[in-house]
Symmetry: none
Subunit: 206 residues, 2 copies
DNA sequence: AGAAACATTGTACCGATGGACATGGCAACA
DNA sequence: TGTTGCCATGTCCATCGGTACAATGTTTCT
């Protein structure tokens, strides 16, 4: 099975050659044209439109691994969504690249270890396994705190929440403080990221 | 490396022996006592308290694979959260078990194939529509605005974004103001609600 | 050459936010 | 009858966030 490396610069080719003697470097167009079922395609996440390329190639049956100079759970999530079977650091040594191939060839998924737990979490969030987790965290809150948390998570300001729940904006802050402490988040942004994608209503409101 | 099978009945032992001649069947207690770093531990999801067992063993460095007679995405989620590296059907043939070992030994994750297609397939379908819309709105932004918007949408503060992009926090505000105007949102909360459905990011953490 | 878009930074203002500390009412429970 | 937990509210204060107005430099296109 062939190995295609889709990248911009050519700095990395030597290391890839070291890992796979038959490694070929190519553009996105070439990969699109030549990569076939069972081939390994390594795509750098800093090239333009890597997600669409990943999607088309993986749906064709190519084994796709995304490489990133700055791995993040978000990007890993995106890579998996695009059908990638692996996500690793762009500077991974040759031995690691070979190991990744062993895994992916055997129907496995390979993730940058530092991100593993996070990605597993957020990926399954998208499937609905999230609900259990979300209900769990909400279970830590009292009724009023839950109401405030959900309202805030839908984009409302403290004042708006106060008006909706018919309490003072100061009280909203008090509940919110408790929510932050219990859920271990530092501000409303983190809260929204933790509770979003559910029935949290509309963000236009008034 | 040893193979421990934690199960109730002994019906499955023959198949496991076929896959791994050194397979040992044992109770949860025995596994807890004997399994060491690098050992494979196969846990049936129908035994009492399998999640806690999985957590302790995997944190000890054992390679954990959860087997289930009725695989579901929820249970897979639980298993992976408990530190399992694999999740498969309890009746998987010997060859498949060996394949799983190849994957997990190489730091990979192995998921029940039917589940995997869900991850790659249905998630994509679910996010496909939103994704197109999201790409559309992002297309309205300049490169720098996009970077700022995505960083902010991932929960970063202005100061953090400034540090990451190596610009002043004032400049971040400037770009962010443009983003708000172009996307017609009134603050970062609305932005996160607009972009958090399908993540994407090029930025790194601290 | 000049316009237009982009990126960067500045000052200044003001509202929103979050934490610390304190008070009071109300219910359940030992 | 205390104690405990939840709800509501208050003041004070440091910081963050968003906007308005202004300026400088770089591309890019006309």
């Amino acid at each position: 099975m062939a190995h295609f490396f889709v990248s911009q610069g050519r700095d990395d080719l030597p290391r890839w050659r070291e890992a796979f003697s038959d490694a070929r470097m190519c553009s996105a167009q070439q990969a699109r044209a030549q990569a076939a079922y069972g081939d390994h395609v390594w795509v750098m996440s800093n090239i333009e439109g890597w997600t669409t390329l990943a999607t088309t190639l993986s749906s064709r049956g190519a084994i796709l691994v995304v490489l990133s100079y700055t791995p993040t759970s978000q990007e890993a999530f995106q890579a998996l969504n695009a059908g990638a079977r692996g996500y690793a650091h762009a500077l991974s040594p040759a031995m690691l690249l070979q190991q990744i191939v062993v895994v992916t060839e055997n129907q496995g998924i390979w993730l940058w270890p530092e991100l593993l737990t996070q990605v597993v979490g957020s990926t399954f969030k998208a499937l609905g396994g999230e609900n259990a987790l979300r209900e769990d965290v909400l279970a830590l809150l009292t009724g009023r705190e839950k109401a405030v948390a959900l309202a805030v998570a839908s984009g409302k300001s403290n004042k708006e929440v106060a008006r909706i729940l018919d309490i003072t904006d100061r009280t909203v802050k008090a509940h919110l403080g408790a929510v932050f402490r219990k859920l271990k988040v530092r501000d409303r942004m983190q809260l929204v990221l933790m509770l979003s994608q559910s029935e949290s209503s509309l963000m236009d409101a008034d």
